[in-house]
């Protein structure tokens, strides 16, 4: 039985109000769990018609054209992964560097102020980042950043096509800015709790400050850092409005980092109002695919934590 342990005294007394209290707590727990089950069941059952009428191959189809019954989801899956990848590739080194600076380099008085600012910025709603990206950053990207990137890296063919401002690159950059505060705040916390004796021990052995950070602090905080990166990646994957405003919403597979594209969340939010029947079921199913991608990313991260736990124990993390 999954009965929860109750202190012996409380169980013996068999007093009615206490049983009522336990029952109330148990009922609330069941309610929360039921809500979660309802969530899964509702989405799966409503998405089911998409799979019964279309099968499963449409998930990897390349053409999205609902009026001709073509529901290829691949452009949106790729768009989701690509925008997230840009954001995370920018956010991981910059977030880690910022967290290290905040935890160990910045003068103590400034440290609290900057850390608090970063934590407060983590609460700014994503739609505000989207508005800023669309109105302020998109013209800068169109007129300055993208022409420069094309002239500098045009030979890679990653930067072909017209300069439009909105597109994959801008979406990735907005995701980077958006997930940065969360990542920095959590990373700073886990970096700051690495035991001081280890830091001092390394310094006593003659290590430079950077060697201390790289060989003692970062490995010691590895599990927590991976957790922070996972959380940030999850937020980037599921972000809807900020991305929908700046990605350009084009249902084609991007051939350049500047191309307009679309993600699964932006597809859902842009098409929801006009959809019915099969198309609506397809949108529900797209939400299901998004959930599966999120779970997959999470599992990879958990596996990473699990597989590095052994080696970091060898390095003497504790």
């Amino acid at each position: 039985m999954a009965e929860t342990p109750v202190p012996v005294g409380a169980r013996r007394r068999r007093s009615l109000p206490d049983n009522g209290y336990r029952a109330l707590l148990g009922a609330v727990a069941v309610l929360v769990a039921a809500l979660a089950v309802w969530f899964v069941v509702a989405i799966v059952t409503q998405a089911w018609p998409a799979f019964t009428t279309l099968g499963f191959s449409w998930i990897f189809g390349k053409v999205w054209n609902p009026s001709h019954g073509r529901y290829g989801l691949l452009p949106f899956i790729l768009g989701t992964l690509e925008a997230t990848a840009i954001g995370v590739v920018l956010a991981v080194p910059i977030g880690l560097g910022t967290a290290l600076a905040l935890a160990y380099l910045v003068p103590r008085r400034l440290r609290t102020a900057l850390s608090t600012t970063v934590e407060l910025l983590a609460a700014v709603p994503s739609v505000v980042y989207g508005l800023w990206g669309l109105v302020v950053l998109a013209p800068v990207f169109r007129d300055t950043v993208e022409p420069f990137l094309t002239s500098a890296f045009g030979w890679t063919s990653l930067f072909n096509g017209p300069n439009q401002g909105v597109g994959l690159l801008l979406a990735g950059v907005i995701l980077f800015i958006m997930i940065l505060p969360t990542m920095v705040a959590i990373s700073r916390d886990v970096l700051a709790v690495v035991p001081n004796e280890q830091v001092e021990g390394a310094m006593a052995l003659g290590a430079t400050r950077w060697q201390v950070l790289r060989k003692v602090v970062v490995p010691g905080a590895r599990t927590g850092l991976l957790g922070a990166f996972t959380l940030a990646t999850g937020r980037a994957l599921g972000e809807t409005v900020a991305v929908a405003l700046v990605i350009g919403n084009s249902p084609y597979i991007a051939h350049s980092i500047k191309s307009p594209a679309a993600t699964i969340p932006s597809l859902i939010v842009n098409n929801f109002g006009e959809s019915s029947g099969t198309e609506l079921a397809v949108l529900f199913a797209a939400g299901l695919v998004l959930l599966v991608i999120g779970i997959a990313v999470n599992s990879v991260a958990r596996w990473l934590v699990w597989s590095t736990a052994g080696s970091s124990a060898g390095a003497g993390a504790r």
């Binding site: 989405i43 977030g95 380099l105 609460a123 994503s126 800023w132 929908a244 939010v269 949108l283």
Partner: protein, 303 residues
């Protein structure tokens, strides 16, 4: 002694010199790479701070000019018609957030008590469920709100939006509550038990009051998070350009208004979006800062 050291023929002196030279060059090399790497960290700090401050500065600079009496007291006007405000969206956000809070806080805190007081498999399952719920993309929660409420209960409404926002807030409050309740010293619990108090009484008179700073902080942060959520509301509340206090009807909300206005080609609508963004950011920051102040004040009083 010195004579031996100075003798160039002695091989051990040669080796000592070589080692010292190697150590010196190693130190030089390591100091240089340390300086470069730490410089990169500082540069990254700058790269991170600039856009974040830039967002806030822009929101203030572009939002403040949009603020006037009409902005706070009138409802939105269609494009081209000057004037108008966001009163309808403010009302919607207040009503939706309030309903979500009133329903979610008791459930979340009782769930948090359950987690804090039990260690069995049921608690582990619920804890895992809450963690998974926290990571679910908000757009799928919007889909859930649409399926569960909009379809079943006669169309888009403020209630449907509150349902989705509450679903987002619930796991946050649950886990914040658990953390706060677990922080209550075991000795207090045992003292109350020794006095013959019932578990329900202990929870009411000992656990909850002691954990109050943590609880308030968690709730305020959850409210701040729920207030800014946009995607779930886009699928559930339907939008309304007129003032509507009745949550069973279609409503407007600040994040939805920002989203819809920001991609409009009309400068005055974008202007309203900036004003609404400033209002939303200000409200979220007040909640976040307030939660810290409350927690600090209560903690100090208790000492």
């Amino acid at each position: 002694m010195t004579a031996v050291l100075d003798s160039p023929a002695d091989p051990s002196v040669e080796r000592r010199r070589a080692v010292q030279e190697a150590a010196r060059s190693s130190l030089r090399r390591r100091k240089l790479s340390s300086r470069i790497a730490l410089g990169v960290c500082w540069a990254f700090l700058g790269i991170a701070i600039i856009p974040l401050i830039g967002v806030v500065v822009y929101v203030v600079a572009k939002g403040l000019p949009a603020w006037n009496l009409d902005f706070f007291t009138k409802s939105t006007t269609p494009e081209g018609i000057p004037g108008g405000g966001v009163w309808n969206a403010i009302a919607g956000t207040v009503v939706i957030t309030t309903i979500a809070v009133v329903v979610t806080v008791p459930v979340g805190l009782l769930g948090g008590l359950f987690l804090a007081e039990s260690d069995g498999r049921a608690a582990a399952t619920l804890r895992f469920t809450a963690d998974v719920m926290t990571g679910v993309p908000s757009i799928t929660i919007g889909i859930f709100g649409y399926i569960a409420m909009v379809r079943n209960f006669g169309g888009a409404s403020g209630i449907a939006g509150a349902f989705a926002i509450g679903f987002i807030m619930l796991p946050v409050i649950l886990r914040a509550g658990e953390t706060a309740f677990r922080g209550v010293p075991q000795s207090l619990n045992e003292a109350a038990l020794a006095l013959g108090a019932r578990r329900a009484t202990i929870a009411r008179k000992v656990v909850v009051p002691t954990a109050l700073p943590g609880v308030i902080t968690g709730v305020l942060l959850a409210v701040a998070r729920g207030m800014g959520e946009t995607a779930p509301l886009l699928l559930t509340i339907g939008g309304n350009q007129y003032l509507q206090w009745n949550p069973t009807k279609q409503m407007e909300a600040l994040p939805v208004l920002i989203y819809n206005n920001s991609s409009q080609p009309y400068a005055d609508l974008v202007q309203v979006a900036w004003g609404a963004a400033l209002l939303l950011v200000a409200a979220v920051l007040v909640l976040s800062i307030g939660s810290r102040l409350v927690a600090a004040r209560l903690r100090k009083e208790r000492r």
